[in-house]
């Protein structure tokens, strides 16, 4: 890489040696435009700390300066935006998880004009006004005219608050990246590749299981990555780690997925994994997906998810430079970074002592260990004494100083001896919270364990095995052992179908509490004075929680919503247990009685891109086209979406708008002939000795008596008696029917029919086969329809009188087998030609050519709609909406039929009242224009507010045949109102309409025979 050499001294806080960074290579990056350097293996956070940058963000509400709290995915403070080129900006990334690459561009968020000088930090001074629930208390009224009480909120307060409070800005451009999806299956999914996870993977793999190990970090190892002194199985930790990873990589049935977060568990062990493939690369290969969603079905799940260290709640605990003790050690050991030069270690837990000694050994002066308990454990004290560290026990931190970086900690020792200790680093050790989000999502119950000072699994869950620190284990030996046992237990459970579960996981785990702090509730009966932050990301303080309990909130879920604690993008990973402890103390009940809030997925934020996968652009949803589609496109048809189908809506000629084209198409069909691509109609073939009886029971229409060679218009009801679908039922043979459904209803109708066939009408032998896509359908409609077809077909006589209206016959057209239906959705003489889809385009082209030679034209769905509305033919889903009976639509219901699906419901009292909505036609008075579909129908032109409408307009068109606008409407008691004058209010004034019969054109049906 040919970059100018950078002064090594730039990384002033980098140790001389050590860490898992590649010191032979130097990477350049910028933070808020400032050029900085780091090394491969760094995270953005470790590289910033190496250069002494602690101020990295502003808090959500108060805009307080914030630094880096942690070294992992739990980070609440250090949220940054990473830019890549001009189109890619990813906001709200945790700097502790962003892997450094050469040329990385990172920016701080939620500050203006700059991170160091942020005008909105005035919020911090206003903090007393911005307590919990201040939104609810403050932003009420005044009423703004028509907007009402909510007006001020939607127009003023919310936009303002959104600008003031917040996170990074989402990019406005469409996402240029590719995202992938992947389904997978394994015997054991192991979440976490720390010491426990790796041991579990080895044990499970050696037992012959197929294993997936998912770990959120760039390299496997978990806590081992910061482990330089311990030995594992007689080898240095890092040697054992490398050996073990290599061993697993050689096993063909083991897959190690780094940079992969198991973010949620769903029913039946479906685990969602988000794999980051490209974000860590300086140059992303073209075509590489940025992220990939894995949906893994795992027979056994091992949760080796580790534990998260808790901060301590003391006034001013949020300044940059105040960090988790474990994180301070991780930066030192894994990244070779000293997070400060003079540290105060604040602890309620023995785990801080070896860390303090280690810091001192590496040259970080440990000014004081502030022990919140009366005394530390024996071993801990010995460690501190050996390192000659000063401890003040039974003390507390009462405040901190420093604006952009902590400068001093103020402590109160027993006897109220106050002391101010200068420092540039405060390391907090508040105990560990096992990461049990996924366990909870797998229906595992958690219970407070006083000895461990945290929530732990209360009972075993079949096929779920919790290992290592997640199970409350501590100490490397114990964690490794627990991992191996979990792997073995998974193998046993798999072999026994879950029977050995209870033996594998004791119902009550007995954790060793050596590194865990006592319950926060015990430790601190009252919240500290001053602003002590519990939830750093949402700026919730201990006094906010106190206020909530004073105001009567007792349930933890209510406290959470009122104060927003635990509701930020970090989901309260570092704050929840502290909040539970404080609320428990404030309410004077045990933390176990407080319970805990729900662990909802995702564990860490997942991008929309990952969830969408390939489903975008052309692949967002299937776009279905018919075989005739290329011909229609070649003719310049304008298309409309009908469900997933694209249908030709109209075929404009040069200079024509939609209105002109549709009017011409209507005139041509009524005057000459038109052809329509009706291939999208749903089709089902019903075959078997019981087919006739089966259809008779399903449809309102009598079908058992339908002769071979004839069709009937048939209506299907739901069990509730409402119109569900309609179509044509044609009898091809005694035991064979060809039925059609609406385009959108095909799948639903087939499922409905299968349901009855398999569960209700099991006495009937018949089968259903979807033939929607087997047949291309071309409707030939108009007075010259017969002239178009006659010379092209053979085997069917369609001479006048030979094939009557609603007749069906099989024959050939242009040499291709055909099913010919004489049906009409236009009121004109009409045929529907069905040919196998592979021939549809050729036949269409021929029929169209012949039609045009006779003066005809192709027509689209819009003209079809107009033509059918002129005849009062309904469209299911337009004239009906799931609450409409056949009677409402004026469709005959045979009294003679003993039964059919929905018949009983038609007799319910509400179904037979006389003022049900009924289908009528509306004629618009002179000059009124076409009504709006969906417009309401009212008695008066300007009804008083609160007056119910009489009905609504279901279809409205310009009728070219009548040279006037027409509409169909559902109007209360409509048929008795024929002749009445009603009104249709529209945005620009009410129209006067006259109620008429829904059949506008050719009411006697004379035209059907040409």
């Amino acid at each position: 890489m040919s970059r100018p050499p950078v002064e090594t001294s730039a990384e002033r806080f980098r140790t001389i040696n050590g860490g898992r960074i590649d010191r032979t290579r130097r990477l350049s990056f910028t933070f808020d435009g400032k050029p900085l350097t780091g090394h491969p293996g760094d995270t953005l956070a470790s590289a910033l700390l190496a250069s002494g940058v602690h101020l990295v963000g502003r808090s959500f509400k108060y805009h307080r300066p914030r630094g880096i709290l942690s070294a992992g995915s739990e980070e609440p403070n250090a949220l940054v935006t990473v830019r890549r080129g001009w189109r890619r900006a990813t906001p709200n990334l945790r700097a502790t998880e962003v892997e450094l690459y050469d040329g990385l561009v990172a920016e701080s968020q939620n500050r203006w004009p700059s991170l160091a000088f942020d005008l909105a930090s005035v919020n911090d001074r206003l903090a007393p006004l911005l307590s919990a629930g201040f939104y609810y208390k403050t932003f009420m009224g005044p009423r703004w005219g028509r907007l009402g009480a909510n007006g001020a909120w939607t127009r003023l307060y919310e936009p303002l608050i959104r600008r003031m409070a917040g996170l990074g800005r989402a990019p406005l451009d469409s996402d240029p990246d590719r995202y992938a999806t992947r389904y997978d299956h394994c015997d054991a999914l192991i979440v976490g590749a720390g010491p426990a996870g790796l041991m579990a993977a080895l044990a499970a793999a050696e037992a012959g299981l197929s294993v997936i190990v998912a770990d959120e970090q760039a390299e496997p190892g978990g806590s081992l990555l910061a482990e330089t002194t311990s030995a594992v199985h007689g080898r240095p930790a890092w040697t054992w780690l490398a050996d073990t990873v290599a061993q697993l990589a050689r096993m063909p049935r083991v897959r190690l997925l780094p940079r992969t977060t198991a973010f949620g568990c769903y029913p039946d062990h479906l685990i969602g994994l988000a794999e980051r493939l490209g974000d860590h690369l300086a140059e992303v290969p073209k075509g590489l997906p940025r992220e990939r969603l894995w949906q893994v079905r795992a027979r056994e799940v091992v949760l080796a998810t580790g534990a998260i260290e808790r901060p301590l709640v003391f006034p001013g605990n949020d300044r940059p430079g105040i960090m988790l003790a474990g994180a301070v050690e991780t930066y030192l050991e894994r990244f070779g970074v000293m997070a400060g030069t003079r540290a105060v270690v604040v602890t309620a837990c023995d785990s801080a002592y070896p860390i303090a000694a280690n810091l001192a050994e590496h040259g970080i002066e440990v000014a004081r260990i502030v022990e919140l308990r009366q005394a530390a454990g024996e071993a801990a004290r010995a460690t501190a004494e050996a390192a000659r560290l000063a401890i003040v026990a039974g003390a507390e931190v009462v405040g901190t100083r420093g604006r952009h970086r902590v400068r001093a900690a103020e402590i109160a020792a027993p006897g109220d001896r106050r002391e101010r200790i200068d420092c540039d680093l405060v390391a907090m050790a508040g105990g560990f919270t096992p990461t049990l989000h996924l366990f909870s999502q797998l229906r595992g119950q958690l219970a407070w364990d006083e000895a461990a000072g945290t929530l732990l699994p209360a009972a075993a869950v079949p096929h779920v095995h919790v290992a290592g620190a997640a199970a409350g284990r501590s100490g490397l030996t114990d964690v490794l052992e627990s991992g191996a046992r979990a792997g073995e237990a998974a193998a046993r459970s798999l072999a026994s179908g879950g029977a050995s579960q209870s033996a594998a996981t004791p119902t009550r785990l007995s954790p060793r509490s050596a590194t865990s702090a006592p319950s926060p509730a015990r430790r601190r009966p009252a919240p500290p004075a001053g602003r002590a932050f519990v939830d750093f990301q949402n700026d919730v303080t201990a006094s906010d929680l106190a206020l909530a309990t004073r105001e009567g909130f007792q349930a933890i879920e209510h406290v959470k919503r009122y104060t927003t604690t635990g509701m930020a993008t970090d989901q309260g990973k570092t704050s929840n247990v502290n909040a539970l402890g404080l609320v428990g103390g404030l309410l004077g009940r045990g933390i176990d009685a407080v319970g805990h809030t729900t662990f909802r997925p995702p564990y860490t934020p997942v991008t929309f891109g990952t969830l969408a996968g390939e489903a975008r652009g052309q692949l967002l949803d299937p776009i279905r086209v018919t075989g005739i589609d290329p011909s229609s496109r070649a003719r310049g048809a304008v298309f409309e979406d009908v469900g997933q189908w694209q249908r030709a809506r109209y075929f404009p000629r040069p200079g024509e708008d939609m209105h002109a084209a549709v009017a011409r198409e209507c005139r041509t069909v009524r005057g000459t002939v038109g052809v329509l691509d009706a291939s999208t109609l749903g089709k089902i073939e019903v075959v078997g000795p019981g087919a006739a009886e089966f259809l008779d029971r399903l449809y309102v229409t009598a079908l058992a008596s339908l002769p071979v060679g004839r069709c009937r218009y048939a209506v299907m009801l739901s069990e509730a008696g409402f119109v569900m679908d309609d179509g044509i039922v044609a009898r091809l043979a005694d035991d064979r029917f060809h039925i059609t459904t609406t385009t959108g209803g095909a799948a639903r109708v087939l499922a409905h029919m299968e349901d009855y066939r398999q569960t209700e009408f099991t006495d009937l032998v018949c089968w259903l086969t979807s033939t929607t896509e087997q047949w291309g359908v071309i409707a030939v409609q108009g007075p010259k329809a017969r002239d178009v077809l006659e010379p092209l077909i053979e085997g069917v006589n369609i001479a006048a009188g030979a094939l009557p209206h609603m007749g069906v016959a099989e024959g050939r057209i242009l040499g291709v087998p055909m099913r010919l239906f004489r049906v009409s959705f236009t009121g004109e003489l009409g045929y529907e030609v069905n040919v196998a889809s592979g021939y549809a385009r050729d036949i269409w082209d021929e029929l169209l050519a012949r039609s045009e030679a006779l003066g005809g034209c192709p027509y689209g769905t819009e003209a079809m709609h107009v033509l059918r509305a002129e005849k009062g033919f309904i469209i299911v889903g337009q004239e009906s909406d799931g609450t409409v009976t056949p009677g409402d639509l004026g469709l005959p219901v045979g009294k003679a039929k003993a039964d059919f699906v929905g018949k009983r419901s038609l007799a319910r009292p509400d179904m037979v009242v006389s003022d049900r909505p009924q289908l009528v036609g509306l004629e618009v008075a002179e000059g009124g224009g076409v009504l709006e579909e969906g417009a309401q129908v009212t008695q008066h032109a300007t009804p008083r507010p609160g007056t119910p409408a009489l009905g609504h307009v279901t279809s409205a068109y310009w009728s070219e045949a009548l040279r006037q606008p027409i509409a169909l409407a559902l109007v209360k008691g409509g048929r008795a109102r024929i002749g009445e004058t009603l009104h249709v209010p529209m945005p620009d004034g009410a129209r006067v309409v006259r109620v008429v019969s829904p059949v506008f054109y050719d009411p006697l049906g004379d035209r059907i025979d040409g």
Partner: protein, 198 residues
């Protein structure tokens, strides 16, 4: 006249994706597809004239001794009969001739689906991008055939060999399915290149 022996191929106009190291998509033509329904115990008699026993497990394929006809058993009472050469009406006539009074349904669905063949070393991974079934060789060996999903399309998936699958998909969903396969092949190629570059 239109030649009934030369129907339009539903994938003819599509640009079929392929990568030799991953997976290649090709059109796979069947002249006849017949959906046959019958009671399980009656099926053997119906299959006889085709040289098919029709007694295999649900979701398995049976190929006639002559190799001319195959039957995919898609349900306890459902078979999809396939022939690359024989026209559907001839196939149906052979069954009907010996069926006697055995209740059954035969429906010509030759044009309902488009056939695709996916072959290559990474076929399992390509399909796993959108198919939720376990597709490993043990769980889904050659000869297994089932209806399933590929992303948002219902497909019929039939494993012909370790590295070869037949996909039947509703005609109108062929462009979408090919698009999903193109995307999946592209992803596998890109990830393989990333891994080999590391």
């Amino acid at each position: 006249m239109v030649d009934p022996r030369a129907p339009a191929c539903p994938v003819a106009s599509l640009d079929l994706p392929g990568n030799a190291a991953t997976g290649m998509v090709a059109a796979a033509y069947f002249r006849a597809r017949l959906s046959m329904r019958a009671a399980p115990d009656a099926a053997g008699r119906l299959g006889e004239p085709l040289g098919l026993r029709l007694d295999g497990r649900t979701n398995t394929a049976e190929i006639s001794a002559s190799g001319g006809t195959c039957a995919l058993r898609l349900g306890p009472d459902e078979w999809l009969l396939l022939s690359r050469t024989e026209p559907p009406d001839a196939l149906a006539a052979r069954i009907a001739a010996t069926a006697g009074g055995t209740p059954h349904a035969l429906v010509d669905v030759s044009h309902r689906h488009a056939g695709l063949e996916l072959a290559g070393p990474a076929v399992e991974a390509v399909l796993a991008s959108g198919c939720p079934l376990p597709l490993g060789i043990a769980a889904f060996p050659p000869g297994r055939a089932t209806r399933t999903l590929l992303a948002k399309a219902e497909i019929l998936l039939w494993r012909l060999a370790a590295d070869r699958f037949h996909i039947d998909v509703a005609r109108s969903l062929a462009p979408y399915t090919v698009g999903v396969l193109r995307e999946a092949i592209g992803v596998e190629v890109a990830i393989a290149e990333l891994r080999s570059g590391q």
